[in-house]
Symmetry: C2
Subunit: 304 residues, 2 copies
């Protein structure tokens, strides 16, 4: 296994050691969680979350996995099968939750109705809300996601190209809890590339769904990844230097210029928000009012 950015090759055993060290350093350096603290893990069925699940389990962490079934036809069926099969095979605790049973709409039903926002943005917001609510309801102090170096560097590039000041002030492998109902959010894989995680998954026969989500075709983050892949190819180590250099400078450059935001509680769901009604509840209201209108229309047409 050749790692250009480290200018070295690894045998499988050494790669495993390299991989563990990266994750353990990420966890320790950023005080993500201890081996005693139960960690909630969102597993999609993709290589990152499946590998993180396997890693945390074999390294002796207390992990509880939750899988949201997004109701995306064949893609969601296969993702769920992979996650459930892996849970059985390794006897790992897992809860599967159908998004539709929680919010009355599947993700495709939502994104079809919300045309003015990229699908990934809407879906991400819903998943973050549901994962945080699940963590809070079930008394977890921390939840983990499988975001990797490529994800984080691409997000950073997008935030910098568009100078998203608020996002730049907060982008981090650990989002501390700013409110009792907002659970700490951690990304133990933030120093590992997609390629390294793919190798890890293969090395340990970790099953995962290889295709991209069918709704993510137009996601801008893919363009940022492509641009960074190109630059990484020309100059190995670029992504790593970019992200890690940013994290060293974030507080000094970006966070110190931000005003503190006061978090209140949403008047509908009670979860933390800077607004009167949180963006999740506003989305739900919008969907429900669309539904009512279309039912009225149908009733009207029916009576004609």
């Amino acid at each position: 296994m050749k790692l250009k950015r480290h200018n070295s090759s690894f045998c499988p055993e050494c790669f495993d050691i390299f991989f563990s060290r990266q994750v353990e350093q990420a966890i320790k350096k950023n005080r993500m969680f201890s081996r005693e603290e139960p960690v909630l893990l969102g597993v999609s069925g993709g290589k990152d979350s499946m590998s993180l699940w396997f890693y945390l389990h074999q390294a002796g962490y207390k992990v509880q996995a939750v899988h949201f079934d997004l109701g995306m036809g064949e893609y969601s069926l296969r993702s769920r099968e992979i996650v459930e099969g892996f849970s059985k095979q390794h006897q790992l605790p897992l809860e599967v939750i159908e998004v539709k049973s929680l919010i009355n709409y599947s993700i495709p039903e939502v994104t079809k109705k919300v045309r003015n926002r990229p699908s990934c943005s809407v879906c991400g917001m819903i998943k973050r809300h549901l994962l945080n609510r699940y963590a809070w309801d079930n008394h977890f102090s921390v939840y983990a996601t499988g975001h990797n170096l490529d994800d984080e560097a691409a997000t950073l590039l997008g935030n910098i190209l568009h100078w998203q000041d608020g996002y730049l002030a907060h982008q981090s492998p650990v989002l501390p809890s700013p409110h009792p109902k907002m659970v700490r959010k951690v990304k133990p894989f933030y120093t590992l590339t997609e390629e390294e995680i793919r190798w890890y998954a293969r090395l340990h026969d970790i099953p995962f769904i290889a295709e991209r989500c069918p709704l993510s075709k137009r996601a801008k983050s893919f363009h940022y990844k492509e641009a960074l892949d190109f630059l990484e190819e020309k100059s190995p180590g670029t992504k790593h230097m970019f992200l890690l250099g940013f994290l060293e400078r974030r507080d000094r450059y970006f966070a110190s210029n931000q005003e503190k935001v006061e978090l209140g509680e949403c008047s509908r769901c009670g979860m933390p928000t800077t607004l009167e009604v949180c963006s999740f509840c506003r989305l739900m209201e919008r969907l429900d009012s669309q539904k009512e209108r279309s039912e009225e229309n149908n009733a009207h047409h029916g009576s004609e």
Copy 2:
């Protein structure tokens, strides 16, 4: 002429108005120079400096052009021909200076000997030093270069990917004079893309050398440009937003964190530097000592 980033098309007349407005705004907003102040312009023979020369002349600015003949064979011969021809055709003041006559080496002779540094970096440093010295010796208070939006955005991307704190604190369309012998440096084309300048040159029959400099093949800035071109294609306006957003935030984010650097004078040439001997003079010493060594070697071989 279609400008995707402005979501509009222009006829030649309107394009000319658009172009003028961009340059005039850049000059005024950044207080680059007035119509009374003589401006020294470095002209390479490329589209940017040739167009800037033409623009400043026809807009009534007092421009004195200087062309450095880099001694790069056919490429330099053709560049010089273009610059000299244009000067004659429009009766524009021009001084041509052979770099070799000033420093005893042509640019290829320098870069052949300095293998541990990219050619563009060495050549750029020499040109900046010579242009500043020429400006100072000839009592100019300001000199201009043809750097465009693509150049500036690519430089910025490189500085950000590698978190070059010092460069980030200072990147600007106007570098104010930090020392009496360091002349103000301005880039009136920093809001215009390469494509727009190419159109302008065609529209006004401005001759220019179209090929890249033969020594610049491995320049990293081309990779940054390629990556940004890709992102611009996917999302028009990216480069503009990236650079202009940076300039708005530069002082707040990047410059305020930098310590002030004390500028002294080089003990050899007397020009401003933060070191005992400036980097230009150190390069010259290195070249001369290499030459002496090789002459000694030759003498030694000759006596055998």
